[in-house]
């Protein structure tokens, strides 16, 4: 992976932010995936200048070209980065903020999933999910949070999952990574809200992305398109919500599931 702490001369020069063409500045980590790309397009349409961060450089490049062509003018920069390289995060973040010309919004969407068989315990895959879904988020947010706390403004969006609400027989490792992320975001919110910083936890149910095409993936139930998810996340961001379920119906489904007593829950087959 390239060293992000140094300026990349190949990056285009962004259009200036002026009172009549003001730009909010955002970072999207995990931008090339299904929800990440859809949300990046949405934020660009809403007037953001964006830094798109992902492992997949070619996907980033085509997303960046597409956004810059449709949004009119230079609006996005790209950064090839593996979120599990934790130590380089503070320097990379400082470079990105300098390139963007400030920072108003930080979004973490990077996530991986592995669907184990019912009797399978696979620590290697669990480890990867913890690294990308939880530790990567903590590494980036640990660098972003003190800046927003100091600035007394900003918004952090973490895309967790309904899967973090309960530990199910289907996927202990994924459940744990998302439960950890949900809990981490809640704690972050409790720390930062008194400093004027909004932390939004997004809990998608099923979304029609490549994740659902992986081997062992369940059949889609109430699945949304990534574009619908992006619209709902943007609504939550605008209203500075704390937690949103997408689609909204999951709020009620998970309310019921969260209250199923263990004596019953451990006998269920999902």
């Amino acid at each position: 992976m390239p060293d992000l702490s140094k300026p990349d001369q190949t990056q285009p020069k962004l259009a200036p932010s002026t009172p009549l063409n003001p730009r909010r500045r955002g970072i999207v980590v995990g931008a090339s995936g299904g929800i990440g790309a859809a949300l990046s397009r949405k934020l660009a349409r809403e007037g953001f200048t964006l830094a798109l961060v992902d492992r997949n450089k070619s996907a980033l490049q085509s997303l960046c070209d597409e956004i810059n062509q449709t949004a009119g003018g230079m609006r996005t920069l790209i950064y090839e980065c593996d979120v599990t390289e934790y130590d380089s995060v503070p320097d990379s973040l400082r470079r990105i903020i300098a390139d963007l010309g400030g920072l108003d919004t930080f979004v973490y969407i990077a996530g991986v999933i592995y669907f184990p068989a019912m009797d399978e315990f696979n620590f290697a895959e669990d480890h990867k999910m913890m690294e990308v879904n939880l530790l990567g988020a903590m590494a980036w947010m640990s660098a972003v949070a003190p800046l927003f706390q100091s600035a007394k403004s900003g918004q952090i969006v973490g895309v967790s999952s309904v899967a973090g609400d309960r530990g199910r027989i289907g996927n202990p490792g994924y459940n744990a990574s998302k439960a950890g992320l949900t809990n981490y975001l809640e704690a972050l919110r409790n720390r930062l809200s008194r400093h004027g910083v909004n932390v939004l936890t997004v809990k998608p149910g099923m979304v029609k992305t490549d994740m659902l095409k992986l081997p062992g993936a369940p059949k889609p139930v109430l699945a949304l398109d990534p574009e619908q998810v992006a619209d709902l996340i943007w609504n939550g961001m605008k209203k500075r919500k704390q937690t949103i379920y997408v689609a909204g119906i999951w709020k009620w489904i998970m309310l019921v599931i969260r209250h199923i007593p263990s004596v019953i829950f451990r006998r269920l087959s999902f």
Partner: protein, 467 residues
């Protein structure tokens, strides 16, 4: 020193633009140099910030290092026999006039607010209502010392290091950071000024009154009712002002006392002015301003002469504290154009008509008389300036932006110029067009010499000098 510890959200004056950056507050030249070195290592841009009174991005650098110069605000020497004052760049005009006025001196050039810092005043090379007579503030700088990003500390006078003297003053802080400034004050013989107030019926009369009134006065300024159209387009009121001669004020010691200069904090002695901006808010729209302007114009029809304190005459922007908040959440922008006296009338007629056609009239218009100067990035012309304030809202941004682009074209065609403490939308192409290639090449050559690593880059610099 960790220069990236204090991340904060900064705004322009007018609250219409914000950017987050790392704020540092150096106390001396050594600290400034050490900030330069650290910023260079991290490859971050640096800019100096004084009182933050620019209407645009001159004192912002999003994601970079903003040096708050107000930690260096001492007046280091004052000689009341020669009128020479030396101060650090963070000292404000308020500090300066408080120091010199009781001794019978006044800063030769001041801005419309006394909150500005000397460093900022020199960087923008500010002018006052006496530009036609006294020039810009740079013409009264006897000497300054600055630290360059290379670490060199240089002293400039109009003779010594003259190229840098004429470029750093007006250079918007992009060549180096002032650390000490010596200015020549002007003798006064009273704490009062004599103001002639006269109405003008239209733009032709307005500009003629500025032109004809200037030679016989020390200051001249016009208020232009930007909402009046038709035959009354450009109507307003002129304030032509002169110093009192020696002996004219029977008791100058008394009128020059600071207590007789300070602006009242209450209206009619009871109502606190700090609350006034809430009551102005309902009038900051087309209808409200039309009413206020019409009433003001009718009141101005009486031609009269009165005496006013220096502070009350000069610092109109400080008269109502936080007045800019009355423009609401989107804030305000200022659009100021400088035009030669031959083309001003037709260009501004076109501009004002265009603003009426778009339903976006400026809510304030102020005119002044100007003369050219020798500074490299000069904004002055032998002619006039018209400064206009526009309210920014979510709904009018796109339309206002298009209209100001049209204004830029009209001003450029008429041989006009712009001023970098004010306009926020000027593009690199417009800048290149009115400065011309030669001036820009000269500036960039100096930039290369003073700042080879390109450390000093404000958002303004990135906007107007982009390659």
């Amino acid at each position: 020193m960790d220069i990236t510890k204090n991340f904060i959200q900064l705004e322009n004056f007018g609250h219409s633009l914000s950017a987050s950056a790392y704020l540092v507050r150096p106390a001396n030249s050594e600290e400034i140099y050490s900030i330069f070195q650290r910023a260079k290592k991290m490859e971050l841009s640096v800019t100096a910030r004084g009182a933050g009174r620019s209407y645009n991005d001159a004192a912002l650098v999003g994601g970079g290092i903003v040096m708050d110069m107000r930690g260096m605000n001492a007046i280091t020497s004052w000689d009341n026999s020669t009128g020479l004052i030396t101060a650090q760049p963070g000292a404000t005009l308020e500090q300066i006039w408080h120091q010199v006025e009781p001794d019978g001196w006044w800063p030769p050039v001041v801005s419309g607010t006394m909150k500005t810092t000397l460093g900022g005043c020199l960087s923008a090379n500010i002018h006052g209502k006496n530009n036609f007579k006294m020039g810009t503030i740079g013409e009264h700088v006897v000497e300054f010392t600055a630290i360059l990003p290379t670490g060199a500390e240089i002293t400039c006078t109009p003779k010594k290091n003259a190229d840098l003297f004429y470029a750093m003053i007006s250079g918007m802080g992009m060549l180096g950071i002032f650390v000490s400034i010596t200015l020549q004050m002007k003798r006064i013989y009273s704490g009062l000024l004599s103001v002639d107030a006269l109405p003008v019926q239209n733009l032709h009369g307005h500009l003629a009154a500025l032109l004809d009134g200037a030679p016989d006065h020390d200051y001249i300024v016009g208020w232009l009712d930007c909402l009046a159209g038709g035959k009354s387009l450009g109507r307003g009121q002129i304030h032509a002002t002169r110093y009192l001669h020696e002996g004219e004020d029977p008791n100058p010691q008394e009128t020059m006392k600071l207590s007789n200069q300070s602006l009242p904090s209450r209206i009619f002695g009871v109502f606190p002015k700090s609350l006034l901006h809430y009551f102005m808010s309902p009038f900051i729209n087309n209808f409200g301003t039309w009413g206020v302007n019409t009433a003001k114009y009718i009141a101005s029809l009486r031609r009269h002469t009165f005496r006013q304190s220096h502070a009350a005459f000069h610092f109109l922007l400080d008269y109502i504290p936080d007045w800019e908040l009355s423009y609401g959440r989107g804030g305000l922008i200022e659009y100021q154009s400088f035009l030669p006296k031959e083309t001003a009338e037709s260009a501004w007629t076109e501009i004002l008509k265009l603003s009426h056609k778009n339903g976006l009239p400026p809510y304030l218009g102020v005119t002044k008389r100007h003369r050219p100067d020798k500074f490299l990035l000069t904004h002055a012309v032998d002619g006039f300036s018209l400064a206009t304030d526009f309210k920014v809202t979510n709904n009018n941004r796109a339309k206002l932006s298009r209209m100001l682009q049209d204004f830029d074209r009209i001003v450029l065609q008429a041989g006009g110029r712009f001023y970098f403490a004010k306009n926020s939308e000027t593009t690199a192409e417009t800048t290149a067009s009115f400065y011309g290639a030669e001036t820009i090449a000269k500036f960039k050559k100096l930039k290369k010499r003073c700042d080879p690593n390109g450390l000093l880059e404000s958002d303004l610099y990135k906007r107007i000098f982009t390659d």
